[in-house]
């Protein structure tokens, strides 16, 4: 295995008495797409900000590109690209000037920035908006411009904090496709998300975070295989009371059942057989739906909560 790009050991972030990140360990290798999956408040953004060298480490050790963020923050940031959770484009500048000025922050020569800016606007399909101000751009366009901006210094690692939150499905898919191309070009992607489909689409490997800790680690497939069953039967009921009545009877038929707000999730290796058994037992579900298990289920099984909570 080549030298890891990012290594964290017992990494901790405290804000006063509040522990946002509670002693986590992870290793990120060059070229991989690594994800932090978890609900809001799990400590993902705090971790990203520490990696991005804009938030001092409270405890443990962190090495990024072989360097210590506390000592070499500016040197590390020179080689990172950052797409923050909230757009912070410069609204007083045009699309083009956002890239030019950002390139200058990295002390790149103007001619080089112009060359890269042309390419990057092409890459994020904003060439026709280069003289536009930032404000009139759609949410998806702003995100794409933020990604272009993050790439102006040709970073070895691209940090993406909730890259598609708030975007419509079409804009999300377009963004995923761009990120996939970057990954193919060898850029290491580190992202946080609370969308399990995003994690499954983009990540080679991920950790699931909850309450500042890592509760599981692996590839999306490994995580599902290790912590969930192959299939899931989803039962919905007409009334909440029906659901609580049915819970005990369903538990008798399948070893692992999770009750969430609006449905029961029954974990099984043979969904159709389990669905048939449930129907035969006279559990009066309004709808029965068999699907493959996903990262959402892994999270639910490990924490008892859903990602959207």
């Amino acid at each position: 295995m080549p030298d890891p790009l990012i290594v964290a050991h017992a990494l901790t972030k405290r804000f006063g008495g509040f522990v946002a990140v509670d002693g986590i360990d992870f290793v990120i290798a060059p070229g991989e797409a690594f994800g932090f999956l978890g609900p809001n408040g799990a400590g993902k953004s705090s971790t990203m900000r520490m990696i991005g060298c804009v938030s001092p480490v409270s405890g443990g050790t962190l090495r990024v590109l072989g360097m210590d963020p506390a000592a070499d923050g500016a040197q590390i940031r020179r080689r990172l690209g950052v797409v923050p959770q909230e757009d912070n484009l410069d609204t007083e500048l045009t699309v083009w000037d956002n890239l030019m000025i950002y390139g200058r922050y990295f002390d790149l020569p103007r001619a080089e920035i112009r060359r890269r800016a042309e390419e990057l606007l092409e890459f994020v399909q904003l060439s026709d908006r280069r003289d536009s101000r930032v404000d009139p751009l759609s949410g998806g366009m702003k995100r794409r411009l933020t990604i272009a901006r993050a790439l102006i210094n040709q970073p070895e690692v691209l940090l993406l904090d909730e890259p598609t939150t708030g975007l419509d499905p079409q804009a999300r898919h377009m963004l995923w496709e761009r990120l996939y191309r970057l990954k193919q070009d060898g850029v290491t992607l580190v992202l946080t998300t609370h969308y399990m489909d995003e994690a499954e689409q983009l990540c080679d490997r991920l950790v699931i975070m909850d309450g500042g800790r890592i509760v599981a680690e692996g590839s999306p497939r490994e995580l599902v295989a290790t912590h969930a069953t192959r299939e899931v039967v989803e039962l919905r009921f007409a009334r909440a009371a029906d659901q609580s009545d049915a819970l005990a009877r369903v538990r008798a038929l399948a070893p692992r059942v999770e009750a969430v707000a609006d449905r029961l999730l029954v974990y099984t290796d043979d969904g159709d057989a389990t669905a048939a058994a449930i129907a035969g037992d006279g559990v009066g579900a309004a709808s029965v739906f068999v699907r493959r298990a996903s990262l959402e289920d892994v999270f639910l099984i490990l924490t008892g909560r859903t990602l959207e909570d």
Partner: protein, 257 residues
């Protein structure tokens, strides 16, 4: 060849200014010149006719350096308040800046440097107009330009250090009314501070604006008093240095948490 980080911070501000400068012409140039015409020529004619000269100067000559430095202070105060809070709180572009190889401390210093550059330009134009009106008797008057810029720096460094810590702009109008406006009126800008009540005079003496006005007036009239002038410079440099040191801390604390 590498460019110092603070200069790269200035490049951004200069780029924005190159698009928006037309909107600033009135407040930074036309308004001070109107003041100069009204006070120096209009009111000054009356003053000169009734009381003779003020500290040996025509009223126009007396008030020109005061207005020049006071308007540099106003530009500095404005630029160090709303735009700083906006960049950290609303637009958040400062957060984007410090995600690059620029550090928060460099951003703090670069931002003040930009205000200094802007004040240099505005003061140079004002001085030229004042000279054409006969308000600048001495060629040493060119030194009033760096004095105005130093005054802008002495105000913008501590004020931007303060602004970056805030979550709302409710204190800004208070600072303008209770701080900047009284300084503008009572720091030897329009009349000597010897006209103030005795108990107020020590307050005026420690005000950075009074020190800057005295220096600028020494320059435009070519009458220097070495000891006093060194003290004036020292007061301004202390404000600037303290402001920059504080700003490096507050920018770092706010932008890296």
């Amino acid at each position: 060849m590498s460019t110092p980080p603070v200069i790269r911070v200035v490049e951004r501000e200069a780029r924005v200014f190159s698009r928006l400068w037309r909107g600033t012409v009135f407040s930074t140039l036309v308004a001070p010149v109107l003041f100069l015409a009204a006070m120096g020529l209009g009111l000054g004619g009356l003053v000169d006719a009734h009381t003779g000269k003020v500290d040996g100067l025509t009223y126009l000559q007396y008030v020109a350096p005061g207005l020049m430095v006071a308007s540099a202070m106003q530009i500095a105060a404005n630029e160090a308040m709303w735009p700083v809070l906006g960049a950290v709180k609303w637009v958040k572009n400062f957060h984007a800046t410090v995600a690059t190889s620029i550090t928060p401390g460099e951003l703090a210093v670069g931002y003040v440097l930009w205000i200094v550059i802007r004040s240099l330009a505005a003061s140079a134009v004002f001085l030229l107009v004042a000279a054409l009106l006969g308000a600048v008797p001495s060629a040493w008057g060119v030194l009033a330009i760096p004095v105005a810029a130093l005054c802008a720096a002495a105000f913008s460094a501590p004020l931007s250090a303060y602004s970056i810590r805030l979550d709302s702009d409710i204190s800004f109008p208070v600072i303008m009314r209770v701080g900047v406006l009284p300084l503008f009126l009572f720091s030897g800008t329009f009349f000597p501070i010897s006209q103030l009540p005795t108990w107020l005079q020590p307050l005026a003496v420690v005000s950075p604006l009074w020190n800057a006005v005295e220096l600028a007036r020494a320059a435009t009239t070519g009458t220097f008093h070495l000891g006093a002038d060194i003290l004036h410079v020292a007061v301004l440099v202390v404000c600037l240095t303290a402001g920059l040191l504080w700003g490096r801390r507050t920018f770092t604390r706010r932008l890296t948490s």
